[in-house]
């Protein structure tokens, strides 16, 4: 029996390519644009697509693959994929939730402390020899005990909050609905949340529903002692308002793993000394990336075996 055809968009590790090659006739494609250059018979044979990346994938791209039945996304955020367009074509979409929660929450908490305690600058202070010359590193700010807000108490937001609670913080959150929590304070809107807390963690999903929801008004409610931590999507924040607020000290600082137009981020970020910047590495450990690839392939395998998909999003 001929092996099924699988198109894989994006840049995969060997540990993902090899098992895909073992099961399928694999057609690796570097980018969404390169899809247009695939031979017509490959496009016709392809019933499943392994998707990795952040470039938009909409109805126009789906129509290049007339028999497509599954888009298996690598990552929990599937905002690059036009799910309505997939629905309209009877295409199922899957993602890779949960397996990355720990890594993203670990990074969020570490970024929060690293921004307050200036860990990268302190590392430079040692490595440049400044400390050896006898100059003490300047004092910075305490993390434990602050009031923290979680914007979006989904799977990842919950993991962040559970960790922050161990740092003697007072936890507040905003979410579509009030949740069962160990005494955390619910806020129905983002401005009320930002006003109630010292530091604000963004953990909502990306996509059109949350685009720009962290507005200048939210940042002003956070205020001049507040720090914004974002491990979600750059699209969630009004980035111009954030840059203004950081440049003018309207908020104290930010710790950011995600940006609009990443990786080509606004060069104004690079001039800030009150922002900790990370290269969208929330899920970027070997352990978790292997688990994400496995879950992506498990969804593809379920699809070809006519078994229920493990983590469908539509």
């Amino acid at each position: 029996m001929a092996r099924p055809t699988l198109i894989a968009i994006g840049n995969y590790n060997d540990w993902d390519v090899e098992p895909m090659q073992a099961e399928y006739t694999l057609h690796p494609v570097a980018s969404v644009e390169a899809l247009a250059h695939l031979p017509e018979d490959v496009c016709a044979d392809a019933r499943a697509l392994a998707f990795k990346g952040h470039a938009p994938f909409g109805g126009k791209q789906m129509d290049l693959l007339p028999n497509l039945g599954l888009i298996a996304n690598y990552g929990v955020g599937f905002d690059a994929i036009d799910v309505a367009a997939a629905d309209a074509r009877g295409i199922k979409v899957t993602n890779t939730p949960d397996v990355l929660n720990d890594d993203v929450a670990d990074l969020a908490v570490a970024m929060w402390i690293a921004q307050a305690r200036r860990i990268p600058e302190a590392s430079d202070w040692v490595r440049s020899g400044t400390w050896s010359e006898g100059r003490d590193f300047p004092l910075n700010r305490k993390a434990s005990g602050r009031r923290v807000g979680i914007l979006g108490l989904g799977r990842i937001g919950r993991e962040i909050a559970d960790r922050l609670a161990a740092f003697k913080t007072e936890v507040h959150y905003a979410s579509r609905s009030e949740k069962d929590t160990p005494g955390w304070t619910y806020h129905p809107d983002y401005v009320s949340l930002a006003r109630a807390v010292d530091d604000l963690f963004i953990a909502v999903v990306g996509g059109p529903d949350t685009a720009g929801c962290v507005t200048a008004e939210v940042l002003d409610a956070l205020g001049p002692d507040g720090v914004l931590v974002n491990i979600s999507r750059g699209s969630v924040v009004d980035e111009g308002a954030l840059l203004d607020a950081l440049e003018r000290g309207r908020i104290r600082g930010a710790a950011l793993d995600v940006f609009q137009d990443e990786p080509k981020i606004d060069p104004r970020f690079l001039r800030l000394d009150n922002a900790l910047l990370q290269p969208h590495q929330g899920s970027g450990t070997g352990e978790t990336r292997r688990a994400m690839g496995q879950l992506q392939r498990d969804n593809v395998a379920a699809f070809f075996a006519d078994r229920p998909l493990l983590t469908p999003v539509n």
Copy 2:
């Protein structure tokens, strides 16, 4: 009534100098060596000394101040002060415990994740423009879920363990005696502890009793996937063995806030890419340093008022 004389050794912030000047006839002294240059009548008048720093302060220095009754140390670690020599002269010693526990534990946990997730290198990756050029940051290692060992479950060790437990770790510890814990595993010796865990946090007090207690044998028991985190004192570790282990990959990495001969640390550390280095900033926040200064002064005030000392160590 004449105000009491107070000698203050070390480099103090204005927020400490001003209240000391308000209460006492203050004689600031930059270093232990400079004590010898104080006028004889000042030395004779001084019944109390505010001590800050890591330079040894022994019987010879104490004998410069014939009427000394109190050495109020700024910091929880008082290993610079020869307490036996103080005892022999009827001099009381105080320190500043507890007020810095949160900061030190915050930094320990953040350093642990920052080493695993390479936060300083990732920051450089963004700021140097490497990410903008389209190069993905290399994958790194997961923190949550590891087995962690705490060497010394005192006040600070306990705060570290409480935080680590929120990262789904399995907590082990070694201490002089078994403690009441939420199911953590006690080990009677350091090698057994190091063998049982992935990563090892040093939180014992400094001083002669613990000097060099993290030996080559302990590091080998930690092994090639293990990471050492030290926020205690550089003296606790056999530093030559640690450097060898890091250079040869006998342990995976280290996250170090303290060193022998700091701030003039061994230049071999600067060539390591598997060590996160910090400039002894465990308690280095404005919030905590103010609290430490206050506790130091409260001990001095109690001494002059013949009230019980707040935090005596002898």
